[in-house]
Amino acid sequence: MNDPFLLAGRELGSRLILGTGGFPRMETLADAIGATGTELVTVAVRRIDPAARHSLIDVLQACGVRVLPNTAGCFTARDAVLTAQLAREAFETDWVKLEVIGDERTLLPDAPELLVAAEQLVADGFTVLPYTTDDPVLARRLEDAGCAAVMPLGSPIGSGMGIRNPYNLTLIVEQAGVPVILDAGVGTTSDAALAMELGCDAVLCASAISRAVDPVAMARAIRAGVEGGRLARLAGRIPRRTHAQASSPMDGLPELAAADVPTP
């Protein structure tokens, strides 16, 4: 089926975006990238470690995937904007997964700072993909600010708690004029499938794959979930009903009870 994912004017063949965090070994990351079929992977921006043995960028380039830098770890709009500018210089991309965190324990987004950062980065020419709460009003404000997509959480980063509020996610999907990418909360295949069934355009997944017992097998499983959920969304599911609706006809039902035999 030809069903490309159009994101900021670019066609992606996969609706699964892979976060690179949490993979125990670089080889596992490369194998998982292959298993997901993804074309877009996130990276974080950190100080150079002179003792680092591998160049992540070289590994990702060898995999043939596009890099989406994030601003993870930033708690203010100012830090997020500077991190995005550093990423643009380092990786020659104006795409950024914008994260502005408001709470260390839950890693939930700081809505006012997020909106300020989004506005500044859009004005600076960035393609802004913001990690946001599942608040439909904030999602609309981010879209109005010029973001190229909205990336609501299903539940907190790395929690694996799935989609806690499918109703809010449905509202975001209904109103959005930009792609909706479920970001954070996926624990297993069914969570990814549900996101796509609810109408998300794509799923971003890191920990569920990288911290699975067998990351490469889970990469295959979550890919299948995304693809299955997408197919189901396009197919159009039946409405939920309170009572049964027979799937076999009642007409032509044979009379199988023993005939009453009159006694002589």
Binding site: F23, V43, A44, R47, L86, E89, A90, F91
Partner: protein, 67 residues
């Protein structure tokens, strides 16, 4: 004194960004590296000539697994 990635570096006042990166084992034409001095991103093309004065804060970053 210049502060590079959170560490004070002695006797490097007036060094270029390229010099400071070399101290970290990074070549001036390295891919996937960016530098900010006092909160301003300095493009890679300026690293050989850009001198860092005493009291400045240099942040040199690259990609790590995340997200």
């Amino acid at each position: 004194m210049i502060r590079v990635n959170g560490r004070d570096v002695a006797d490097r006042d007036g060094a270029t960004i390229a010099d400071l990166l070399a101290d970290l084992g990074v070549e001036a034409d390295a891919r996937g590296v960016a530098v900010a001095v006092d909160g301003e991103v300095i493009p890679q093309g300026e690293w050989p000539a850009f001198t860092v004065s005493a009291g400045s804060r240099v942040e040199a970053v690259t990609a790590v697994q995340g997200g």
